[in-house]
């Protein structure tokens, strides 16, 4: 349960389930089965390692441990876990592809200048000051936390990847 998206209700689509057509949701979605239906959700999508999605996906955030064939659009973030496989185009302000993940397609982080400044306002403030690489690493608490969380999730999957944690 701990690796499921937090908050509100969650729909878990079981291993033997096959859905074709169109799917809309305002709750977190965990996919363990097979979906050949266009997914539109205002919340998170987690495709577990047994999950297969063959359609376009448009969600708030996506974490892919299974297989996706189709374009993925996320308002916040797309993460392909080490056991994830994606064939299609990704569109999101933040995209993570973990070591071991398989991906073929295009990536568009949109106007990536804007979200970066929003995410690290302290950088924007000190833009005139020459920031050394270490300064940059220290002054990104949001990114650091997300990375540690991702590393934690991988450890659960039985693949400790402590070295991936950024210092």
């Amino acid at each position: 349960m701990s690796d499921q998206p937090k908050g509100g209700t969650t729909t878990a689509i079981g291993r033997t389930i096959v859905i074709r057509g169109k799917l809309r949701s305002d709750e977190d979605l965990v996919v363990k089965g097979r979906i050949e239906a266009e997914i539109t959700s205002s919340k998170g999508l987690h495709i577990e390692s047994s999950g297969v999605v063959k359609a376009n996906v448009s969600v708030q955030s996506a974490r892919i441990s299974g297989t996706v064939v189709g374009n993925v659009t996320a308002a916040a973030k797309i993460e392909i876990a080490p056991d994830g496989r994606v064939v299609g185009d990704l569109l999101a302000p933040r995209i993570v592809i973990s070591e071991g993940a398989a991906f073929r397609g295009r990536i568009d982080m949109q106007n990536f200048d804007e979200p970066r400044q929003a995410a690290y306002p302290e950088l924007a403030g000190s833009a005139g000051v020459a920031a050394s690489p270490t300064d940059y690493a220290v002054s990104e608490p949001g990114g650091g936390a997300a990375l540690s969380a991702a590393a934690g999730g991988e450890a659960e999957d039985g693949e400790p990847k402590g070295k991936r944690k950024r210092v």
Binding site: M1, D3, T9, T10, T11, A12, I13, G14, R15, T16, I17, V18, I19, R20, G21, K22, L23, R24, S25, D26, E27, L29, G33, A37, E156
Partner: protein, 110 residues
């Protein structure tokens, strides 16, 4: 990774599916489904569930609303709060006091 979820799928209240669902596990519908449902185990349409589909399953229990024909290999039960519009074909059909139903019922009696 909750093991208890493994043979049960709950389609939550905000979920809308247009199309086809197939499954070999218990299915609980709290949202909206239109199209076709084939479930080899137990299908439950909860109070908030709205199904506009042809349904084939083993057991069906309706507390919500079903519009469409239903075929069950074992049993169909329309609960007190349930509403079904469509034909039901099943060896055993239960319609509770207070339930709403419109359609034909075939229990396969000769």
């Amino acid at each position: 990774m909750a093991q208890s979820d493994d043979d049960k799928t709950i389609l939550g209240p905000t979920l809308e599916i247009e199309g086809e669902i197939e499954g070999d596990e218990d299915l609980i519908v709290q949202g909206r489904i239109s199209g076709k449902i084939s479930c080899k185990k137990n299908l439950t349409v909860a109070g908030s569930g709205r199904v506009e589909a042809s349904v084939s399953t083993r057991n069906l229990s309706v507390s919500g609303q079903v519009v469409g024909n239903v075929e069950a290999t074992e049993r169909v039960e329309v609960q007190r709060e349930g509403k079904v519009i469509g034909d039901i074909k099943a060896p055993r059909v239960i319609i509770a006091d207070g339930a709403k139903f419109k359609g034909n019922i075939e229990m396969g009696v000769d």
